[in-house]
């Protein structure tokens, strides 16, 4: 395949205490795919993302973003954490949260200015939340909060997007809005990696998939590897999913 490798993970092993959460993961994610990471609870899906992003320290292994260590490629990467990972009663507005996406390129001390504000407003518009820019974030619905998080990542204008369960607890309208944005990102040549729970929608939303359960079970194009065999291997039970092709 002539495509470039956006993310390369080698021998990655992560443990919180004694038991490994991720065991010897090798993974290559080609540029421009929209990839789902699926697996049961406790399979290490979030851990995998967090280790790639340097939030967690692995016991062994290495991660490369376009062939270089993550620390040197931060500007190419954006992250959408799980919505539940922050306190939404924090005293701040929707626009302010989205502005945080510009902090990385600003670096230490420098304050966001007009240019950053404009970028944040544009991102808010993309996710359909411009009308809520001045809203205190606790007064947003779950789906709206998720869109704010998405807008914050969009502001980073990255090449690779990591998203931790962006469809968690959102209604159908928001889910469609989010998936449309993800598809747009892929169309623009970006790589999008999503921790995903709803197996039914995998073939419809994604073109690439990684099965994970502490070890990597399989990774590749959805049409080749999204089958009962891999699902059973990952979920441990005889899993049947009907794929309409």
């Amino acid at each position: 395949m002539s495509k470039k490798i956006a993310v390369k993970v080698d021998d990655l092993t992560v443990a919180y205490n004694y038991k490994p959460v991720l065991w010897d993961i090798d993974l290559e994610i080609p540029e421009g795919v929209l990839m789902a990471i699926v697996g049961p609870n406790g399979a290490g899906k979030s851990t995998l993302i967090k280790s790639i992003l340097g939030i967690l320290k692995p016991i062994a292994g290495s991660v490369a973003i376009y062939g270089k260590p993550y620390e040197k490629q931060r500007r190419l990467v954006a992250y959408v954490p799980q919505k539940g990972s922050v306190d939404w009663d924090f005293p701040t507005t929707a626009l302010d949260v989205v502005m945080m996406g510009t902090y990385g390129s600003l670096g230490w001390i420098k304050r966001p200015r007009q240019k950053e504000k404009k970028a944040a407003l544009e991102a808010l518009e993309k996710v359909g939340m411009l009308a809520f820019k001045g809203r205190q974030i606790s007064q947003l619905s779950g789906g709206q909060q998720q869109r704010i998080f998405l807008a914050r990542a969009l502001v980073q204008n990255a090449s690779i997007y990591f998203m931790d369960e962006p469809f968690q607890g959102v209604d159908a309208t928001t889910e469609i809005a989010i998936i449309n944005i993800l598809k747009e990102l892929r169309k623009a040549g970006k790589t999008v990696i999503v921790v995903h729970h709803d197996l039914q929608t995998v073939p419809e939303y994604f073109d690439w998939v990684t099965f994970l359960n502490v070890k990597k079970i399989a990774t590749g194009p959805v049409k080749d590897i999204f089958n009962d065999d891999n699902l059973t291997k990952t979920y441990g039970i005889n899993y049947k999913v009907s794929i309409q092709e």
Binding site: I55, R74, P81, F90, G104, G107, W108
Partner: protein, 375 residues
């Protein structure tokens, strides 16, 4: 001396001026930093740090034999910092939750400190008396140099806060995300925590080990009620803290035998109480009023829509109906009917009622209006 005397004396009397300035500055800096502690859900950290400072005071006295406040506070700073880093260590290295770690360090250090204090008191040394003032604080012992020290630390803290405002804010909101942007979160974290420790140590002489955490929490908790902006919250907390200091000093100075530290804390608590009850958006009072109002509106709407369904069956919407009909409907009371009349939705004629045009249209649009309000 009454309160009026106090305010006329505060500018001329050296002691009063020093104490008032000292408590005001202390209140401002602890309020400011307290906002960060509260938002990080580390409200108890202040309590643990202040208690952890006690053995440091005792040890500093045992080593130097002097009661110079700067030396003792240096001891407090060192043991406060040790306590803080032990807490962090415990949380990181063991399965214990942070409240357990805080409680553990708090009681361990405080117990050790009390042990040393009693040991010192038994010493045949005339110099030993008065160390226990650090337990509950004694604002009267503040001298000008203490106030200068407070002012310098506060100025420094303000400078750092303004300089790293953006970094502090994003770390408070979303630490993991901050890390992915390339910020060294450890440095930001240590910076905040160190300033909190410093502010607490500065307050020990005035407010004391036991009550110090209230200085950190009360102004911040009160400020949070009034605003949804971080900068306003920090500013308000500083103002509340400073006023608690001034009013507390004024009250304690105008009465005999009222210790300053506890009075300051009580004044701060009044701010908290007032804010919890009367804040327009988050206060209990207005929340309750809103709940009652919403319920009334709903009752009104329910009654109106009930009438609408009756009126609907007639060709003429304003056809009169008996009030008796409404008695079978649960939400209906005389006052709701009266309200509907006031709003010109309904007209009463003897024992009959009829919907007006506006009433009919409002009722017809009730549900659709609600669903558009949602998004």
């Amino acid at each position: 001396m009454d309160i009026q005397d106090y305010f006329s004396l505060v500018f001329s009397d050296y002691t009063l001026r020093t104490i008032t300035l000292g408590t005001a500055i202390l209140g401002a800096v602890t309020g400011m930093l307290g906002s960060f502690a509260v938002l990080r859900k580390q409200s108890l950290l202040g309590d643990a740090i202040s208690h952890a400072a006690l053995p440091g005071i005792a040890i500093a006295f045992l080593i130097t034999g002097a009661k110079d406040s700067n030396t003792l506070l240096l001891g407090a700073l060192v043991s406060g910092l040790i306590g803080t880093f032990w807490i962090r260590g415990i949380v990181k290295k063991t399965h214990l939750k942070s409240d357990t770690a805080l409680g553990l360090i708090l009681s361990l250090f405080f117990g050790f400190g009390m042990l040393l204090l009693t040991f010192i008191q038994k010493q045949p040394n005339a110099n030993q008396a008065g160390l226990d003032k650090y337990l509950f604080g004694q604002a009267a012992t503040l001298v000008e140099s203490d106030v200068w020290l407070m002012a310098i630390v506060t100025g420094l803290c303000l400078f750092v806060l303004l300089l790293f405002w953006k970094e502090f804010k994003i770390l408070l909101f979303d630490a993991d995300y901050t890390k992915t942007l390339g910020f060294n979160t450890k440095i930001i974290d240590i910076l905040i925590t160190s300033f909190i420790v410093l502010a607490i140590v500065l307050g020990l002489q005035t407010v004391g080990v036991v009550l110090m955490s209230a200085m950190l929490l009360a102004p911040a908790a009160a400020a949070r009620q009034w605003t949804n902006s971080l900068s306003t919250m920090v500013f308000l907390a500083a103002v509340f803290g400073a006023f608690s200091g001034v009013f507390g000093t004024a009250i304690s100075a105008s009465q005999t035998n009222l210790s300053t530290g506890p009075v300051i804390v009580l004044v701060a608590s009044v701010f908290v109480f007032f804010s919890f009850v009367f804040s327009p958006s988050r206060g209990l009072l207005f929340k309750h009023i809103r709940v009652i109002k919403n319920r009334r509106d709903l009752e009104l709407h329910k009654t109106l829509s009930f009438m609408y369904h009756i009126a609907e069956t007639h060709d003429n919407i304003s056809h009169p109906h008996a009030i008796k009909l409404l008695n079978n409907f649960q939400g209906y009371t005389k006052s709701t009917l009266q309200k509907l009349v006031e709003k010109d939705y309904v007209k009463l004629e003897g024992k009959m009622w009829r919907l007006t045009e506006t009433g009919f249209n409002t009722a017809a649009n009730l549900y659709t209006k609600q669903s558009t309000d949602d998004e």
